[in-house]
């Protein structure tokens, strides 16, 4: 016996490898006792197995035929998938040629190829943004930065552009792992570009709201210096307290006058800060204190100072005009 156990094992392994596409159950059924069978064959004569039985791949092909499993037969699901892929590829090639003239080229692919340098630049910018984001994650924006420095970002961008152009002129010839690396890198940049878009979009919309809320650009309230509250009879209400729907005091304006003590009143939730500057009605002499000193007239009920209710201390306004009549501006 000239055939070793190792030779039989190797032969069986290669037969099984050649049948790798069969369902595992069928393959096992076919090759289950192949080692024993080959040992019998080996015992019957001289010569290597390959010389007597042919190459393992041919042996596997013969087994496959006998088992009724034709070569390359794949599960129906995979066959349909492959067929659909072929049909899609044909459609794409057809569209490629049909739509080409729209872009002034024989094929759309030619047009896209002419756009490649633009992609190389875009890619460089994205790469610079990505590196910038990695060195300084707090900042986001459309300008690359290197460790927060805009100048460093420009240098980074320049390097990225040169590298990207260099890569673009050579990537066609890539095979093997450089090609895979190139594909993975491209995929990363595309995903990153999505995140840049989302980020920019979010910043753009938040700019809009924060601008109005915090800086009051264009708001009518940004020029308010003081607030004057009048009651139904047109009398100025002193020390009016303003609250929003949540009970939070509303702060508007700033004291713009000098009170009796010769100091600028501190901002507080008691309007107006400067009653003497009231726009309507007879100018009110500066009241020394917010307490009720004058005899209250009209409907306003006098209350202790400090109460949130308006204290009607002011003299009657111009006339007992109906509330619908606009008071005449004093100034």
């Amino acid at each position: 016996m000239t055939v070793t156990g190792q030779e039989i094992t190797d032969y069986v392994d290669r037969v099984r490898a050649a049948l790798a596409d069969l369902p595992p159950a069928l393959r096992d059924e076919l090759t289950e006792d192949l080692p024993e069978h080959l040992a019998e064959v080996a015992a019957e004569g001289d010569g290597a197995l390959v010389d007597r039985l042919g190459p393992p791949e041919a042996y596997a092909a013969e087994l496959r035929t006998v088992a009724g499993a034709e070569p390359g037969r794949r599960p129906a699901r995979l066959r349909r998938l492959a067929a659909a892929r072929d049909r899609a590829a044909t459609q794409v090639r057809l569209l490629d040629r049909q739509l080409g003239p729209l872009f002034g080229h024989a094929r759309v692919a030619d047009f896209l190829r002419s756009l490649r340098p633009a992609w190389w630049l875009l890619r460089a910018w994205l790469a610079a943004l990505l590196v910038g984001a990695m060195t300084d994650s707090d900042r986001s924006g459309l300008l690359p930065r290197f460790e927060g420095s805009a100048a460093g970002g420009l240098v980074l961008l320049g390097v990225a552009v040169v590298a990207s152009l260099w890569l673009g002129r050579r990537s066609d010839g890539f095979t093997g792992w450089p090609r895979r690396l190139h594909l993975v890198g491209t995929a990363v940049l595309v995903v990153f570009s999505m995140s840049v878009l989302v980020d920019v979009h979010r910043n753009a919309s938040s700019d809009l709201t924060t601008a109005y809320r915090e800086a009051s650009v264009g708001s009518r309230l940004d020029r308010v210096e003081d607030v004057f509250v009048y009651d139904q009879q047109g009398r100025l209400i002193r020390d009016a307290q303003l609250f929003d729907q949540n009970g939070v005091p509303i702060r508007l304006g700033f004291p713009n006058c000098i009170d009796t003590s010769g100091a600028v009143p501190a901002p507080r939730n008691a309007y107006p800060y400067c009653p003497q500057l009231a726009p309507f009605g007879p100018p009110v002499p500066a009241a020394p204190a917010p307490t009720a000193t004058g005899a209250p007239t009209g409907a306003g009920a006098p209350t202790a100072s400090g109460s949130p209710a308006p204290t009607a201390t002011g003299p009657p306004a111009a006339t007992a005009a109906p509330e619908t009549t606009a008071p005449t501006p004093a100034r």
Binding site: E32, H37, E40, R52, L53, Y59, L63, V66, A67
Partner: protein
């Protein structure tokens, strides 16, 4: 669609009748794989390959037409013998009839047209 014209060759014919041939050589005596291959070749089916016989035996066994038993050998590996069981004999009878009928029909067809060998 692809069209193809089949010329008759032994390999193609063998595919259809290998089951019957293996059952036939096992009719009178049991045999192990290589032994069965030798019998087929001695009977004139020289083109049959080892893989075909091995695969056919596996399939007939899986279909329940054969039984197996192992015989230790003094000078070499154990041998796995195959034997016809009742289903196998039944199958051999039916397939044999089908083949004879088919062969007779083909013979007559060729004879009528003066193409007998």
């Amino acid at each position: 669609m692809r069209t193809s014209v089949w010329s008759v060759d032994t390999t193609q014919l063998l595919k259809g009748v290998l089951d019957l041939a293996v059952l036939a050589v096992l009719k009178d005596s049991d045999g192990y794989g290589y032994d069965i291959l030798r019998r087929l070749r001695e009977a004139g089916l020289t083109e049959v390959g080892d893989a075909s016989v091995y695969g056919t035996l596996r399939r007939l066994f899986a279909a329940g037409l054969l039984t197996t038993y192992v015989v230790p050998s003094e000078s070499g590996p154990h041998r796995k013998y195959y034997a016809l069981n009742a289903s196998g004999r039944d199958q051999l009878t039916r397939s044999g009839k089908t083949w004879r009928s088919f062969a007779t029909t083909m013979d007559a067809l060729l004879d009528d047209r003066g193409m007998a060998a």
